[in-house]
Symmetry: C2
């Protein structure tokens, strides 16, 4: 190599291949999942790549605001990665293939394009992506009424490239169907995360505000890419310290990072804060001193964070203080806070997940009982946040009867993205199907078609604000969610909050393409695996509508035998009601009559075991062991069959996954492979524990042909787990 002026010759395809090899070598250790679905590796399909490079030749994006800068940076990172080009910037369209990006306010060229009608249709956060002739040149225009709308459009455009869509003739118009699309972090100030299985809290409170972890920005990017526009930083089991000045300056630092990405910060308000940090004698919401204290607190918070989103409140539930401590009701409490926030445009999200110290006849009924009478009594800036089902984030629940039952109150749905009851971060469960099942449920509140989606998007009862809350599955784990497929749940939650009518299949399709590969040989099997994954867990954890059979307190592993706890509704026997005659919770008129809370069509359907969908059968009915299922099997046999099907499904998932070796990067392939082995082991644990336990009531054999549990029931009952994460 003495002649340093020698030249090297490549053909173009050879050269591209060479570059890809270099990138792969450099990124040898990079498939750790940190990039989530925002992976911008060079497109290897030469035809697609060539087509994109022809269509994308210059960037016209004016302005330097933080949000515009975020758009520019994302585009340049994305395009330099995906296309391997540094896109030249111009101040106006100068050639074919321009990307023209901006709002009518910050871009005179866009203002001149006559898009007013389209823009009026998409609201503040929506976006347009259109192929247009601009100044005589074929251009792709990404525009919106706000800079954040443009940013959403930019992420959407990058997704088109990531998923190899044709971008020749684009005419995309998209706007969110819900106004508040929010993550709830159950993160404590000591960085533990209640029900968190992906490490610890992202928020490094001790180092804030002086040290800003670069990860905060990547968190914001990920959320903006799916349209999430709010984050509640702290646990619903709240600590009042977070609204003291020492913490507010830390909250401000995070809000400053998130703001350019359209994400507002919210906090949980501890109802007793006026006493705990304010030195007052009461937290009575009707006490003038208490009201004044919260008003002053709101003034103070907005000095730190001028666009503070508001409060999320868990009150009078599981020991949290609330207005009932003072003989007031939920509306009294929510309205006091709402009044303090209203001058600044803040909102209150008041949780309907309540149960008080008196054990009710049926915990599933309590939210409805307490909240329906308050319909119409909440301020305009209050949303009542209702869990998807009436018990507690089980692998499957019927929809919550509150949906549709409070027409005068905007209701948010609260989903749990973190897998408290779905195998923590070692089980592969694509939860979009769970979310979708709830959203598609018909409440019949205003006749057929009154789906939960229409309740929560505000369309059924014409509300101006609407929302979805997702309890985050995000932590310090290098890949954010522990399980690589946990990322799909964060993703699908955001997509459904933007549009609760999109299908889980469509979401899975784009997520797989962005996250793993565009190859059909990957996309199709992975999609099938995902779409059936939650049902597998239902089968081995809670078939036929059984529920809440989890390990005591930590909720890890099976605990159908749990009884004799401080409250009946903290036991498993309360929920399964198994005895020598049969099994299931009777919620019909002859039982707790929780069914009375549903609208008549639903109530009637669910009340009759013959018309009740079998997946909810034991949720609503106590049935004899020899009750005949639709399959013709009796209840005991059917139950056993489901438990075994659950384990078989996991084995099937393993087979599918193993067939992808070499088609997916080795790092994530190995991770998922290991996790599926853990899942199989735990699925067997669930199956054996539950079958053996329920057998003590049914006194019937495990039907022939099934592998027999290799340990006696006592073995499973004695298993103890220490230092289980998430509590």
């Amino acid at each position: 190599m003495k002649n340093i002026h020698k030249t090297i010759h490549f053909t173009i395809p050879g050269f591209l291949c060479f570059i890809v090899c270099i990138i792969m070598a450099v990124n040898g250790q990079a498939e750790d999942g940190y990039r989530l679905w925002l992976r911008y590796d060079k497109i290897t399909n030469a035809q697609v790549l060539t087509s994109y490079k022809t269509s994308i030749t210059e960037l016209v994006l004016l302005g330097n605001s933080p949000t515009v800068t975020a758009s520019r940076k994302e585009l340049q990172t994305g395009l330099s990665g995906l296309l391997g080009i540094q896109l030249p910037e111009a101040t106006t369209v100068t050639r074919e293939g321009a990307l023209l990006i901006g709002t009518p306010e910050n871009s005179p060229v866009i203002a001149s394009l006559n898009l007013t009608t389209s823009l009026q249709a998409i609201g503040k956060e929506g976006f347009l992506i259109q192929t247009l002739k601009v100044q005589g040149k074929n251009s792709t225009v990404i525009t919106a009424n706000s800079e954040v709308g443009v940013l959403y459009g930019v992420f959407h455009f990058l997704k088109l490239l990531q998923t190899h869509q044709n971008i020749q003739k684009l005419a995309i118009q998209s706007s969110p169907k819900l106004t508040h699309r929010i993550l709830n972090h159950w993160d404590n100030l000591d960085r533990t995360v209640e029900r968190g299985y992906a490490g610890f809290s992202l928020w490094e409170w001790h180092k804030l505000p002086g040290y800003i972890d670069p990860r905060y920005t990547d968190y914001a990017r990920a959320n903006a890419s799916i349209g999430i526009n709010g984050t509640v930083l702290t646990n619903v089991n709240a600590n009042a310290l977070v609204i003291t000045p020492a913490y507010l300056e830390k909250v401000k630092a995070l809000a400053d990072v998130f703001r350019p990405y359209g994400i507002k910060v919210y906090l949980t308000a501890r109802f007793s804060a006026p006493v705990e940090i304010g030195g007052l004698k009461t937290a009575d919401p009707l006490d003038p001193g208490v009201k004044a204290w919260w008003n002053a607190k709101a003034d103070e918070i907005y000095k730190y964070v001028p666009d503070f989103g508001g409060f999320l409140v868990k009150a009078n539930s599981e020991g949290q203080p609330g207005p009932q401590n003072y003989g007031r009701n939920h509306a009294d409490g929510a309205n006091m806070l709402a009044d303090a926030l209203a001058p600044y445009g803040g909102i209150v999200m008041w949780r309907a997940f309540v149960y008080d110290n008196k054990v009710p006849d049926d915990r599933a009924k309590q939210a409805y009982t307490e909240f329906v009478p308050l319909d119409g009594k909440f301020r305009d800036n209050v949303l009542v946040q209702v869990k998807n089902g009436p018990v507690d984030f089980q692998p499957r629940e019927p929809f919550h009867p509150l949906f549709g039952a409070m027409p005068k109150t905007p209701l948010m749905v609260e989903f749990q993205i973190t897998q408290e009851y779905l195998g923590f971060s070692t089980h592969l469960a694509y939860l979009s199907t769970l979310f979708e099942e709830c959203l598609d449920s018909d409440t019949y509140a205003k006749g057929p078609g009154s789906t939960v989606a229409k309740v929560i998007d505000g369309s059924l009862h014409a509300h101006k604000i609407s929302g979805m809350a997702g309890v985050a599955n995000i932590g310090t784990d290098r890949n954010w969610t522990g399980h690589p497929f946990g990322q799909a749940n964060w993703y699908s939650y955001g997509r459904l909050a933007w549009d609760p009518y999109v299908s889980s299949e469509a979401i899975a399709d784009e997520w797989i393409k962005m996250t793993f590969s565009n190859e059909a040989a990957v996309v199709n099997p992975v999609k099938q695996l995902m779409l059936h994954s939650r049902e597998a867990i239902v089968n081995y954890m809670m078939p036929l509508g059984l529920h809440h059979l989890f390990g005591w307190d930590h909720h890890y592993g099976p605990g159908p035998w749990i009884k004799n706890k401080p409250r009946a509704d903290w036991t498993s026997v309360y929920y399964h009601q198994a005895d020598s005659l049969g099994i299931g919770f009777n919620r019909t008129v002859s039982g707790s009559n929780a069914l009375s809370q549903y609208f008549p069509v639903v109530r009637e359907k669910f009340s009759n075991p013959k018309t009740c969908p079998e997946e909810y059968l034991l949720w609503f009915h106590h049935l004899p062991w020899d009750y005949t299922l639709k399959s013709g099997k009796n209840l005991w046999e059917g139950l056993v069959q489901h438990y075994y099907m659950g384990v078989d499904s996991v084995r099937g998932m393993q087979k599918t996954w193993n067939s992808l070796e070499g088609k997916i990067d080795a790092d994530r392939f190995a991770q998922v492979q290991q996790l599926l082995k853990v899942q199989e082991k735990e699925a067997i644990l669930w199956r054996n524990s539950c079958v053996l336990y329920f057998q003590t009531f049914s006194r019937r054999p495990i039907p022939a042909g099934y592998e027999k549990p290799d340990k006696p029931l006592e073995y499973y009952e004695k298993l103890e787990y220490k230092f289980v994460p998430g509590i």
Copy 2:
């Protein structure tokens, strides 16, 4: 771009530049510190690169054992990164520039090279790197007596390239001076880390053994690269559960990952384990039942981990149980465990950091008092682990008087890499200078030259086993150590454990080159900054030998005013003894006489304030406020001057760092810049708090010319910190 067969022409330098650009673009987000010093980016210096490519043309490395595979993988990763080549492998030397790697056992070519004498000189873990003619070709030979020795050589060779050393005529022979080079993780089973400031524990106990985080391997690589050969997984404040089967299978999984890298796993043994998990009535080390229990426990552990390293024990200290609970002494306790481990080659590391429930006249004396009488009473496989200084990991302490005082017992030195008392992970403190200061201290145990280094490497008293323990600063933070410069402390600890005679400057030099850049314009200023960084902290936290003035319990921030706690030696006033007459702890014959524990030459030097080094002045002496320092200033003025110098140094560090903008990647540049701002703020907090507090005793003004504290003492005294990490 229709003609896809066009060719692209580059000159070679242009081409290289282009590749670098691509790599930098791809790695845009990659400088997150995760790679530590094992950064293998393409060498940009064309001359160096060309030279290396000529000297490294093929790899001859036989075998497929896990350790050989680790060597091969590291080399291929390293060379493909640094040189941008995929090195062809051959079974024997076929061309000039071969890399011939292996042991005489696994490589016939190496066996034929006549290196027996050299190999005999380097022991089991040492390595040789030599430029030799092999089969007539110029080759680089990396060999050792063990596969792990070869792996150490491979890392060393890669370091030569990373630091741009000439590799034309290598004749390197290196072997560790200490047999046990160990990290102590104070990690709890719930993943909190006592005194951990870099997130949480790496060990995901809940997911083990089923899920093996890829990070475990990178942890092992990093340790092997600096010669660390042991890791204590659990906190010295121990939990007996870790030696139950449920955890031992998890420990085994980690040991299996670490083994190929020459790293043995150790555990902390809770002395009361026989009672807590064994169901015995006593843990008396002389009780036959207790001995039998530990013997059986050792048998059990070695079934899981055949090369288990042994136990680290904190006994009868800070509430931990120990032999004294049964009227036995430390030797009785240590020997019982040593006997259980001896059949398997395991060791016991018994900590000398003890203080019992009776507050002694001077806590600094207690370890010596308890341990010296036991010299000669420990089994051969016991090491006594002694903190570098007699109090507790202060920013500066004189060396521990036990060093040299137990000639019949191998002593390990225990350093704290985690910055409990040195600014957590927000202060830049290069601790190698602290370690070096201790190692270079002359105990005079056997006359001049009896340094601590010679005590702990076993050479002074001819011990067969020797060791160094470092309390790890490693956690789940993406860059492992929180502060990017915390990595230098992990690195320098390992380097000093391998060779306690190497200089901090030399270590800094290579670390900077590997971690940041080989450019002199980076290396020199960063080195200066590092070498003076610890002294800056001494100045603003504990000038002139003051010590233990830290915030109560969490040890965050200043707390010189702390008094009235359950024990006198848990207060600050106990240590500084400030009054209207003067300040300092009198450890001379007229005081606690702790000085009597040192050998005469040292004792005499330290006993006289005029000959006592000023950095230890108030450690050993209580002196009047108007005592004249060597500078001519009185004690009060000198003290104030040190506090102000501390803050000034931090400002100087900021200037130095800011001058490097553009010469260091933007990510780490910004991180360190932010952290230095935090450090400045906290340094001012320390200075103002201490100066104002001590002023209440000295009743003298802050000399003219210094910026005055902007808040009164009461303000500082009232500052409260919640949820401080590390406890």
